[in-house]
Protein backbone atom coordinates (compact mmCIF):
# COMPACT_ATOMS: atom_id res chain seq x y z
CA UNK A 1 0.00 0.00 0.00
CA UNK A 2 2.41 2.66 1.26
CA UNK A 3 6.16 2.55 1.05
CA UNK A 4 8.28 5.35 2.50
CA UNK A 5 11.96 5.08 1.71
CA UNK A 6 14.65 7.12 3.44
CA UNK A 7 12.89 10.46 3.50
CA UNK A 8 14.56 13.57 4.90
CA UNK A 9 12.38 16.49 5.84
CA UNK A 10 13.36 19.98 6.92
CA UNK A 11 11.56 22.95 8.40
CA UNK A 12 13.55 25.72 6.86
CA UNK A 13 17.10 24.90 7.84
CA UNK A 14 16.36 22.51 10.68
CA UNK A 15 16.64 18.89 9.71
CA UNK A 16 13.75 16.96 11.29
CA UNK A 17 13.48 13.55 9.64
CA UNK A 18 16.60 11.47 8.98
CA UNK A 19 16.24 8.67 6.43
CA UNK A 20 12.85 7.61 7.72
CA UNK A 21 11.58 4.43 6.10
CA UNK A 22 8.38 2.59 6.81
CA UNK A 23 5.68 0.67 5.03
CA UNK A 24 2.01 -0.10 5.48
CA UNK A 25 0.41 -3.12 3.83
CA UNK A 26 -3.18 -3.45 2.79
CA UNK A 27 -5.65 -3.90 5.62
CA UNK A 28 -3.05 -3.34 8.32
CA UNK A 29 -2.86 -0.93 11.23
CA UNK A 30 0.70 0.24 11.68
CA UNK A 31 1.63 2.55 14.51
CA UNK A 32 4.34 5.12 14.65
CA UNK A 33 5.29 5.56 18.27
CA UNK A 34 7.44 8.28 19.71
CA UNK A 35 7.75 10.92 22.34
CA UNK A 36 6.82 14.56 22.10
CA UNK A 37 8.68 16.15 19.23
CA UNK A 38 10.05 12.85 17.93
CA UNK A 39 8.84 13.58 14.39
CA UNK A 40 5.57 11.64 14.15
CA UNK A 41 3.48 14.50 12.84
CA UNK A 42 6.25 15.55 10.50
CA UNK A 43 6.33 12.04 9.05
CA UNK A 44 2.56 12.14 8.52
CA UNK A 45 2.74 15.56 6.90
CA UNK A 46 5.61 14.47 4.71
CA UNK A 47 3.59 11.54 3.41
CA UNK A 48 0.60 13.80 2.79
CA UNK A 49 2.74 16.27 0.86
CA UNK A 50 2.22 19.09 3.35
CA UNK A 51 5.91 19.23 4.18
CA UNK A 52 7.48 17.59 1.15
CA UNK A 53 10.69 15.70 1.97
CA UNK A 54 13.90 16.96 0.38
CA UNK A 55 15.23 13.48 -0.28
CA UNK A 56 13.79 10.03 -0.35
CA UNK A 57 10.92 8.38 -2.09
CA UNK A 58 7.30 7.64 -1.34
CA UNK A 59 5.28 5.08 -3.26
CA UNK A 60 1.57 4.52 -2.95
CA UNK A 61 -0.06 1.44 -4.47
CA UNK A 62 3.00 1.04 -6.68
CA UNK A 63 3.03 4.63 -7.99
CA UNK A 64 5.79 7.03 -7.13
CA UNK A 65 4.09 9.94 -5.37
CA UNK A 66 7.06 11.88 -4.01
CA UNK A 67 6.38 15.58 -4.32
CA UNK A 68 2.67 15.24 -5.07
CA UNK A 69 0.68 18.13 -3.60
CA UNK A 70 -1.78 17.25 -0.80
CA UNK A 71 -4.89 17.40 -2.96
CA UNK A 72 -3.42 14.79 -5.28
CA UNK A 73 -2.41 12.56 -2.38
CA UNK A 74 -6.00 12.78 -1.20
CA UNK A 75 -7.38 11.93 -4.61
CA UNK A 76 -5.01 9.00 -4.82
CA UNK A 77 -6.58 7.60 -1.70
CA UNK A 78 -4.85 8.99 1.38
CA UNK A 79 -7.11 10.35 4.11
CA UNK A 80 -5.47 12.72 6.57
CA UNK A 81 -6.50 13.30 10.19
CA UNK A 82 -4.13 15.95 11.60
CA UNK A 83 -3.16 16.07 15.26
CA UNK A 84 -4.69 19.50 15.78
CA UNK A 85 -7.93 18.38 14.08
CA UNK A 86 -8.35 21.53 12.02
CA UNK A 87 -12.07 21.27 11.37
CA UNK A 88 -13.33 24.10 9.16
CA UNK A 89 -14.59 26.07 12.13
CA UNK A 90 -16.81 28.55 10.28
CA UNK A 91 -18.61 25.84 8.35
CA UNK A 92 -21.35 23.59 9.65
CA UNK A 93 -20.66 19.92 10.27
CA UNK A 94 -22.59 19.06 7.12
CA UNK A 95 -20.64 21.59 5.06
CA UNK A 96 -17.35 20.23 6.39
CA UNK A 97 -18.33 16.87 4.95
CA UNK A 98 -19.77 18.27 1.71
CA UNK A 99 -16.62 20.07 0.65
CA UNK A 100 -14.53 17.00 1.48
CA UNK A 101 -16.65 14.48 -0.43
CA UNK A 102 -14.78 12.76 -3.25
CA UNK A 103 -16.30 10.22 -5.60
CA UNK A 104 -15.11 6.68 -5.14
CA UNK A 105 -14.44 3.95 -7.66
CA UNK A 106 -16.20 1.10 -5.91
CA UNK A 107 -19.87 0.77 -5.04
CA UNK A 108 -19.75 0.97 -1.26
CA UNK A 109 -18.29 4.46 -1.03
CA UNK A 110 -18.55 6.88 1.85
CA UNK A 111 -21.14 9.61 1.67
CA UNK A 112 -22.68 11.86 4.28
CA UNK A 113 -25.31 9.30 5.29
CA UNK A 114 -22.72 6.61 5.79
CA UNK A 115 -20.52 8.92 7.88
CA UNK A 116 -23.54 9.82 10.03
CA UNK A 117 -24.37 6.13 10.34
CA UNK A 118 -20.79 5.45 11.41
CA UNK A 119 -20.75 8.33 13.92
CA UNK A 120 -24.41 8.70 14.95
CA UNK A 121 -23.46 11.53 17.31
CA UNK A 122 -22.61 13.68 14.29
CA UNK A 123 -25.91 13.37 12.51
CA UNK A 124 -27.71 15.44 15.14
CA UNK A 125 -25.06 18.14 14.69
CA UNK A 126 -25.42 18.49 10.91
CA UNK A 127 -26.18 22.21 11.01
CA UNK A 128 -23.99 23.09 13.99
CA UNK A 129 -20.94 25.26 13.40
CA UNK A 130 -17.93 22.96 13.61
CA UNK A 131 -16.01 25.48 15.68
CA UNK A 132 -18.32 25.05 18.68
CA UNK A 133 -18.12 21.24 18.83
CA UNK A 134 -16.51 19.46 21.77
CA UNK A 135 -13.12 17.83 21.31
CA UNK A 136 -14.60 14.38 20.85
CA UNK A 137 -17.15 15.62 18.33
CA UNK A 138 -14.46 17.45 16.42
CA UNK A 139 -12.36 14.31 16.31
CA UNK A 140 -15.29 12.33 14.91
CA UNK A 141 -15.76 15.06 12.33
CA UNK A 142 -12.11 15.03 11.24
CA UNK A 143 -12.20 11.27 10.87
CA UNK A 144 -15.54 11.50 9.04
CA UNK A 145 -14.10 14.20 6.82
CA UNK A 146 -11.17 11.96 5.95
CA UNK A 147 -13.44 8.97 5.32
CA UNK A 148 -15.73 10.87 2.96
CA UNK A 149 -12.74 11.43 0.68
CA UNK A 150 -12.93 7.64 0.22
CA UNK A 151 -9.37 6.73 1.17
CA UNK A 152 -7.61 3.38 1.03
CA UNK A 153 -5.07 4.55 3.58
CA UNK A 154 -5.85 6.62 6.62
CA UNK A 155 -3.19 8.73 8.33
CA UNK A 156 -4.34 9.16 11.93
CA UNK A 157 -2.25 11.55 13.99
CA UNK A 158 -2.89 11.01 17.71
CA UNK A 159 -6.64 10.62 17.28
CA UNK A 160 -7.29 9.94 20.95
CA UNK A 161 -5.14 12.68 22.44
CA UNK A 162 -6.88 14.67 25.12
CA UNK A 163 -10.19 12.82 24.94
CA UNK A 164 -12.25 11.22 27.69
CA UNK A 165 -11.68 7.47 28.21
CA UNK A 166 -15.17 6.57 27.04
CA UNK A 167 -14.64 8.45 23.75
CA UNK A 168 -11.21 6.89 23.35
CA UNK A 169 -12.78 3.46 23.71
CA UNK A 170 -15.44 4.28 21.12
CA UNK A 171 -12.85 5.62 18.66
CA UNK A 172 -10.70 2.52 19.11
CA UNK A 173 -13.67 0.35 18.23
CA UNK A 174 -14.37 2.45 15.18
CA UNK A 175 -10.77 2.25 14.01
CA UNK A 176 -10.87 -1.55 14.29
CA UNK A 177 -14.15 -1.51 12.37
CA UNK A 178 -12.46 0.46 9.60
CA UNK A 179 -9.62 -2.00 9.52
CA UNK A 180 -12.10 -4.86 9.21
CA UNK A 181 -13.60 -3.13 6.18
CA UNK A 182 -10.19 -3.32 4.48
CA UNK A 183 -8.79 0.13 5.17
CA UNK A 184 -5.09 0.49 5.92
CA UNK A 185 -4.13 2.78 8.78
CA UNK A 186 -0.94 4.53 9.81
CA UNK A 187 -1.43 5.63 13.38
CA UNK A 188 0.88 8.10 15.11
CA UNK A 189 0.76 7.69 18.87
CA UNK A 190 2.47 8.78 22.03
CA UNK A 191 0.19 6.62 24.08
CA UNK A 192 1.55 3.08 23.81
CA UNK A 193 -1.52 1.53 25.40
CA UNK A 194 -3.72 2.65 22.55
CA UNK A 195 -1.12 1.64 20.00
CA UNK A 196 -0.55 -1.80 21.49
CA UNK A 197 -4.26 -2.50 21.53
CA UNK A 198 -4.93 -1.50 17.93
CA UNK A 199 -1.88 -2.18 15.82
CA UNK A 200 -0.45 -5.11 13.92
CA UNK A 201 3.03 -3.67 13.58
CA UNK A 202 4.96 -0.85 15.14
CA UNK A 203 7.74 1.60 14.35
CA UNK A 204 9.40 3.71 16.98
CA UNK A 205 10.70 7.10 15.99
CA UNK A 206 13.04 9.16 18.12
CA UNK A 207 14.71 12.44 17.20
CA UNK A 208 13.72 11.93 13.59
CA UNK A 209 15.29 8.45 13.32
CA UNK A 210 13.40 5.17 13.11
CA UNK A 211 14.87 3.22 16.07
CA UNK A 212 12.78 0.11 16.08
CA UNK A 213 10.42 -1.88 13.94
CA UNK A 214 8.62 -5.10 14.60
CA UNK A 215 5.35 -6.84 15.20
CA UNK A 216 3.21 -5.66 18.04
CA UNK A 217 3.85 -8.93 19.88
CA UNK A 218 7.60 -8.39 19.76
CA UNK A 219 7.20 -4.86 21.01
CA UNK A 220 4.99 -5.99 23.85
CA UNK A 221 7.72 -8.42 24.97
CA UNK A 222 10.55 -5.96 24.52
CA UNK A 223 10.43 -4.03 27.77
CA UNK A 224 13.89 -2.54 27.17
CA UNK A 225 13.01 -0.82 23.92
CA UNK A 226 9.82 0.60 25.31
CA UNK A 227 11.68 1.81 28.34
CA UNK A 228 14.33 3.46 26.24
CA UNK A 229 12.24 5.29 23.66
CA UNK A 230 8.74 5.63 25.01
CA UNK A 231 8.67 6.13 28.76
CA UNK A 232 9.27 9.68 29.78
Amino acid sequence: MLDVREINTYYGLSHILFDVSLSVHKGEIVCLLGRNGAGKSTTMKSIMGLTPPKQGEITLKGDRVTGCPPYQMCRRGVGFVPDDRRVFADLSVGENLEISARPCQGSDGWDKERVYGFFPALSALDRRRAGVLSGGEQQMLTIGRALITNPDLLLLDEPTEGLAPIIVEMLEEKILELKASGLSVLLAEQNQNVALRLSDRAYIIDNGHIRYQGSIEELRQDEAVRQKYLLV
Binding site: M73, P82, R86, L91, I99
Partner: protein, 298 residues
Protein backbone atom coordinates in the same frame (compact mmCIF):
# COMPACT_ATOMS: atom_id res chain seq x y z
CA UNK B 1 -35.49 71.92 10.93
CA UNK B 2 -35.03 75.68 11.44
CA UNK B 3 -31.29 75.19 11.31
CA UNK B 4 -31.38 73.75 7.82
CA UNK B 5 -34.17 75.36 5.86
CA UNK B 6 -33.52 73.13 2.87
CA UNK B 7 -33.88 70.01 4.98
CA UNK B 8 -37.50 69.12 4.48
CA UNK B 9 -38.63 65.58 5.09
CA UNK B 10 -39.06 64.69 1.43
CA UNK B 11 -35.68 66.12 0.48
CA UNK B 12 -34.10 64.05 3.18
CA UNK B 13 -35.87 60.89 1.97
CA UNK B 14 -34.83 61.42 -1.61
CA UNK B 15 -31.27 62.11 -0.55
CA UNK B 16 -31.23 58.91 1.49
CA UNK B 17 -32.40 56.98 -1.56
CA UNK B 18 -29.73 58.59 -3.69
CA UNK B 19 -27.17 57.65 -1.07
CA UNK B 20 -28.37 54.07 -1.03
CA UNK B 21 -28.24 53.82 -4.81
CA UNK B 22 -24.63 55.01 -4.73
CA UNK B 23 -23.99 52.50 -1.98
CA UNK B 24 -25.05 49.76 -4.40
CA UNK B 25 -22.11 50.46 -6.67
CA UNK B 26 -19.75 50.84 -3.73
CA UNK B 27 -20.99 47.53 -2.34
CA UNK B 28 -20.56 45.64 -5.61
CA UNK B 29 -16.99 46.87 -6.05
CA UNK B 30 -16.09 46.48 -2.37
CA UNK B 31 -17.50 42.95 -2.21
CA UNK B 32 -15.11 41.93 -4.98
CA UNK B 33 -12.21 43.47 -3.10
CA UNK B 34 -13.17 41.83 0.16
CA UNK B 35 -13.65 38.40 -1.42
CA UNK B 36 -10.13 38.50 -2.82
CA UNK B 37 -8.80 39.86 0.45
CA UNK B 38 -10.57 37.23 2.53
CA UNK B 39 -9.93 34.13 0.48
CA UNK B 40 -6.64 34.84 -1.28
CA UNK B 41 -5.30 37.31 1.28
CA UNK B 42 -4.34 39.73 -1.47
CA UNK B 43 -4.92 43.42 -0.72
CA UNK B 44 -5.52 44.20 -4.36
CA UNK B 45 -4.88 47.90 -4.91
CA UNK B 46 -5.45 47.35 -8.61
CA UNK B 47 -9.11 46.65 -7.89
CA UNK B 48 -9.93 50.31 -8.47
CA UNK B 49 -8.04 50.22 -11.77
CA UNK B 50 -10.15 47.28 -12.90
CA UNK B 51 -13.24 49.29 -12.01
CA UNK B 52 -11.94 52.15 -14.12
CA UNK B 53 -11.19 49.81 -17.02
CA UNK B 54 -14.72 48.46 -16.62
CA UNK B 55 -16.14 51.98 -16.97
CA UNK B 56 -14.03 52.88 -20.01
CA UNK B 57 -14.77 49.57 -21.68
CA UNK B 58 -18.46 50.13 -21.05
CA UNK B 59 -18.18 53.50 -22.71
CA UNK B 60 -16.48 52.02 -25.78
CA UNK B 61 -18.85 49.10 -26.18
CA UNK B 62 -21.96 51.20 -25.56
CA UNK B 63 -20.75 53.76 -28.09
CA UNK B 64 -20.00 51.08 -30.65
CA UNK B 65 -23.55 49.81 -30.32
CA UNK B 66 -25.07 53.26 -30.01
CA UNK B 67 -27.41 52.87 -33.03
CA UNK B 68 -29.43 50.29 -31.19
CA UNK B 69 -31.16 51.07 -27.92
CA UNK B 70 -29.31 48.23 -26.32
CA UNK B 71 -25.81 49.73 -26.36
CA UNK B 72 -25.51 50.09 -22.60
CA UNK B 73 -26.96 46.68 -21.91
CA UNK B 74 -24.58 44.95 -24.27
CA UNK B 75 -21.78 46.83 -22.53
CA UNK B 76 -23.07 45.88 -19.09
CA UNK B 77 -22.90 42.27 -20.19
CA UNK B 78 -19.53 42.36 -21.96
CA UNK B 79 -17.38 44.92 -20.13
CA UNK B 80 -17.30 43.01 -16.82
CA UNK B 81 -16.33 39.91 -18.77
CA UNK B 82 -13.43 41.81 -20.32
CA UNK B 83 -12.36 42.86 -16.83
CA UNK B 84 -12.73 39.29 -15.58
CA UNK B 85 -10.52 38.13 -18.44
CA UNK B 86 -7.85 40.67 -17.44
CA UNK B 87 -8.19 39.29 -13.90
CA UNK B 88 -7.72 35.75 -15.15
CA UNK B 89 -4.56 36.74 -16.99
CA UNK B 90 -3.22 38.54 -13.92
CA UNK B 91 -3.93 35.58 -11.65
CA UNK B 92 -2.69 32.84 -13.92
CA UNK B 93 0.23 34.83 -15.27
CA UNK B 94 1.57 36.29 -12.03
CA UNK B 95 -0.35 36.21 -8.77
CA UNK B 96 -0.52 32.46 -8.44
CA UNK B 97 3.25 32.31 -8.20
CA UNK B 98 3.27 34.77 -5.33
CA UNK B 99 0.75 33.44 -2.81
CA UNK B 100 3.52 32.45 -0.43
CA UNK B 101 4.98 35.98 -0.34
CA UNK B 102 4.16 38.25 2.56
CA UNK B 103 1.44 40.85 2.43
CA UNK B 104 3.72 43.84 2.02
CA UNK B 105 5.21 42.31 -1.13
CA UNK B 106 1.71 41.66 -2.42
CA UNK B 107 0.66 45.21 -1.66
CA UNK B 108 3.62 46.66 -3.54
CA UNK B 109 3.04 44.27 -6.38
CA UNK B 110 -0.60 45.21 -6.78
CA UNK B 111 0.39 48.86 -6.48
CA UNK B 112 2.66 48.46 -9.48
CA UNK B 113 -0.38 47.21 -11.35
CA UNK B 114 -2.27 50.41 -10.60
CA UNK B 115 0.51 52.32 -12.38
CA UNK B 116 0.54 49.93 -15.31
CA UNK B 117 -3.23 50.04 -15.70
CA UNK B 118 -3.34 53.83 -15.41
CA UNK B 119 -0.88 54.12 -18.28
CA UNK B 120 -2.72 51.48 -20.23
CA UNK B 121 -5.99 53.38 -19.94
CA UNK B 122 -4.25 56.58 -21.04
CA UNK B 123 -2.80 54.72 -23.99
CA UNK B 124 -6.08 53.22 -25.12
CA UNK B 125 -8.56 55.97 -24.30
CA UNK B 126 -6.38 59.09 -24.14
CA UNK B 127 -6.50 61.52 -21.26
CA UNK B 128 -9.88 63.16 -22.02
CA UNK B 129 -12.81 62.25 -19.92
CA UNK B 130 -15.79 60.51 -21.48
CA UNK B 131 -19.43 60.53 -20.64
CA UNK B 132 -22.16 58.09 -21.40
CA UNK B 133 -25.89 58.75 -21.53
CA UNK B 134 -28.19 56.92 -19.18
CA UNK B 135 -29.89 54.06 -21.08
CA UNK B 136 -33.17 55.07 -22.73
CA UNK B 137 -35.62 53.31 -20.47
CA UNK B 138 -34.08 54.86 -17.38
CA UNK B 139 -33.86 58.42 -18.64
CA UNK B 140 -35.86 60.97 -16.68
CA UNK B 141 -37.19 60.85 -13.16
CA UNK B 142 -40.04 59.52 -11.12
CA UNK B 143 -41.87 61.75 -8.71
CA UNK B 144 -41.42 60.47 -5.16
CA UNK B 145 -42.97 62.49 -2.30
CA UNK B 146 -43.27 65.31 -4.76
CA UNK B 147 -39.57 65.27 -5.58
CA UNK B 148 -37.88 64.03 -8.74
CA UNK B 149 -35.89 60.85 -8.31
CA UNK B 150 -33.77 59.70 -11.26
CA UNK B 151 -35.02 56.45 -12.75
CA UNK B 152 -31.49 55.10 -13.15
CA UNK B 153 -30.92 55.49 -9.41
CA UNK B 154 -34.04 53.47 -8.77
CA UNK B 155 -32.59 50.77 -11.02
CA UNK B 156 -29.39 50.81 -8.94
CA UNK B 157 -31.41 50.72 -5.76
CA UNK B 158 -33.12 47.54 -6.88
CA UNK B 159 -29.85 45.95 -7.98
CA UNK B 160 -28.29 46.30 -4.54
CA UNK B 161 -30.42 43.71 -2.73
CA UNK B 162 -30.21 41.48 -5.79
CA UNK B 163 -26.43 41.39 -5.64
CA UNK B 164 -26.46 40.96 -1.88
CA UNK B 165 -28.79 37.98 -2.25
CA UNK B 166 -26.69 36.57 -5.07
CA UNK B 167 -23.51 36.81 -3.04
CA UNK B 168 -25.24 35.29 -0.03
CA UNK B 169 -26.35 32.38 -2.18
CA UNK B 170 -22.88 31.98 -3.66
CA UNK B 171 -21.04 31.94 -0.36
CA UNK B 172 -23.53 29.87 1.62
CA UNK B 173 -25.20 27.54 -0.83
CA UNK B 174 -22.69 26.69 -3.53
CA UNK B 175 -19.75 24.33 -3.26
CA UNK B 176 -17.37 27.04 -4.47
CA UNK B 177 -18.63 29.34 -1.74
CA UNK B 178 -18.28 26.76 1.01
CA UNK B 179 -14.79 25.81 -0.15
CA UNK B 180 -13.84 29.49 -0.30
CA UNK B 181 -14.99 30.04 3.25
CA UNK B 182 -12.91 27.10 4.40
CA UNK B 183 -9.89 28.09 2.31
CA UNK B 184 -9.99 31.60 3.75
CA UNK B 185 -9.15 30.11 7.13
CA UNK B 186 -7.16 26.95 6.40
CA UNK B 187 -5.92 26.66 2.87
CA UNK B 188 -3.64 23.70 3.59
CA UNK B 189 -6.37 21.54 5.09
CA UNK B 190 -8.70 22.26 2.18
CA UNK B 191 -5.98 20.83 -0.05
CA UNK B 192 -5.66 17.80 2.20
CA UNK B 193 -9.30 16.87 1.62
CA UNK B 194 -8.68 16.76 -2.10
CA UNK B 195 -9.59 20.25 -3.30
CA UNK B 196 -7.31 21.84 -5.86
CA UNK B 197 -7.04 25.15 -4.07
CA UNK B 198 -5.28 26.84 -6.99
CA UNK B 199 -8.43 26.53 -9.07
CA UNK B 200 -10.54 27.91 -6.25
CA UNK B 201 -8.20 30.87 -5.88
CA UNK B 202 -8.35 31.55 -9.59
CA UNK B 203 -12.14 31.38 -9.57
CA UNK B 204 -12.46 33.73 -6.61
CA UNK B 205 -9.96 36.19 -8.05
CA UNK B 206 -11.74 36.28 -11.38
CA UNK B 207 -15.10 36.66 -9.66
CA UNK B 208 -13.78 39.57 -7.61
CA UNK B 209 -12.48 41.28 -10.74
CA UNK B 210 -15.78 40.64 -12.46
CA UNK B 211 -17.54 42.49 -9.65
CA UNK B 212 -15.14 45.43 -10.10
CA UNK B 213 -16.08 45.40 -13.78
CA UNK B 214 -19.81 45.41 -13.01
CA UNK B 215 -19.32 48.36 -10.68
CA UNK B 216 -17.43 50.22 -13.41
CA UNK B 217 -20.15 49.47 -15.94
CA UNK B 218 -22.95 50.59 -13.63
CA UNK B 219 -21.22 53.82 -12.65
CA UNK B 220 -20.44 54.79 -16.25
CA UNK B 221 -23.74 56.61 -16.99
CA UNK B 222 -23.71 58.46 -13.67
CA UNK B 223 -20.45 60.40 -13.78
CA UNK B 224 -17.58 61.43 -15.97
CA UNK B 225 -15.43 58.49 -16.93
CA UNK B 226 -11.95 59.75 -16.33
CA UNK B 227 -8.39 59.05 -15.35
CA UNK B 228 -8.20 59.15 -11.59
CA UNK B 229 -11.47 57.40 -10.91
CA UNK B 230 -9.33 54.42 -9.93
CA UNK B 231 -7.81 56.40 -7.05
CA UNK B 232 -11.03 57.77 -5.66
CA UNK B 233 -12.78 54.42 -5.64
CA UNK B 234 -9.88 52.42 -4.22
CA UNK B 235 -9.71 54.71 -1.18
CA UNK B 236 -13.44 54.47 -0.64
CA UNK B 237 -13.73 50.73 -1.00
CA UNK B 238 -10.70 50.05 1.19
CA UNK B 239 -12.25 52.15 3.92
CA UNK B 240 -15.55 50.36 3.42
CA UNK B 241 -13.88 46.97 3.68
CA UNK B 242 -11.96 48.07 6.76
CA UNK B 243 -14.97 49.40 8.65
CA UNK B 244 -17.01 46.37 7.64
CA UNK B 245 -14.42 43.80 8.72
CA UNK B 246 -11.73 42.50 6.36
CA UNK B 247 -12.88 39.70 4.10
CA UNK B 248 -16.49 39.90 5.24
CA UNK B 249 -18.98 40.38 2.41
CA UNK B 250 -21.71 41.55 4.79
CA UNK B 251 -19.25 43.98 6.27
CA UNK B 252 -18.75 45.37 2.78
CA UNK B 253 -22.51 45.81 2.47
CA UNK B 254 -22.75 47.56 5.82
CA UNK B 255 -19.72 49.73 5.11
CA UNK B 256 -21.04 50.71 1.69
CA UNK B 257 -24.40 51.72 3.15
CA UNK B 258 -22.70 53.79 5.85
CA UNK B 259 -20.46 55.40 3.27
CA UNK B 260 -23.25 56.10 0.80
CA UNK B 261 -25.62 57.51 3.42
CA UNK B 262 -23.15 59.76 5.21
CA UNK B 263 -21.98 61.05 1.85
CA UNK B 264 -25.51 61.85 0.67
CA UNK B 265 -26.65 63.39 3.92
CA UNK B 266 -23.41 65.27 4.34
CA UNK B 267 -23.94 66.99 1.01
CA UNK B 268 -27.38 68.01 2.18
CA UNK B 269 -26.38 69.30 5.58
CA UNK B 270 -23.17 71.09 4.70
CA UNK B 271 -22.67 71.12 0.94
CA UNK B 272 -19.21 72.62 1.08
CA UNK B 273 -17.93 70.02 3.56
CA UNK B 274 -20.04 67.09 2.34
CA UNK B 275 -17.04 65.03 1.41
CA UNK B 276 -15.82 64.97 5.00
CA UNK B 277 -18.76 63.10 6.44
CA UNK B 278 -18.00 59.56 5.25
CA UNK B 279 -14.49 59.91 6.62
CA UNK B 280 -15.83 61.08 9.95
CA UNK B 281 -18.03 58.00 9.98
CA UNK B 282 -15.02 55.82 9.28
CA UNK B 283 -13.07 57.40 12.12
CA UNK B 284 -16.01 56.99 14.48
CA UNK B 285 -16.44 53.32 13.60
CA UNK B 286 -12.75 52.56 13.92
CA UNK B 287 -12.51 54.35 17.26
CA UNK B 288 -15.07 52.02 18.75
CA UNK B 289 -14.43 48.92 16.67
CA UNK B 290 -10.86 48.97 15.40
CA UNK B 291 -11.30 45.58 13.71
CA UNK B 292 -14.45 46.65 11.88
CA UNK B 293 -18.13 46.20 12.54
CA UNK B 294 -18.46 42.56 11.56
CA UNK B 295 -16.13 39.63 12.05
CA UNK B 296 -12.85 40.06 10.22
CA UNK B 297 -11.44 36.98 8.55
CA UNK B 298 -7.89 38.17 9.12
Amino acid sequence: MELFPSLSFSVLCIQILVGLSKATILFIVASGLTLILGVLRIPNLAHGSLYMIGAFTTYSIATAFSQSNLGFWVALLLAPLVVALIGLIMEQGLFRFLYKRDHLMMLLFTFSFTLVFADLVKLVWGSDYRSLAVPKIFQGSYLLLGMPFPRYNLFLLLLGPLFAAGLWYLTNRTLLGKISRAAAVDREMVGAVGVNVNLVYAAVFVLGCYLAGIGGALVAPTQNISQGMDHSIIIEIFLIVIIGGLGNVWGALLGAVIFGLTDAIGILVAPQFGIVFPYLAVITVLTFRPKGLLKSIW
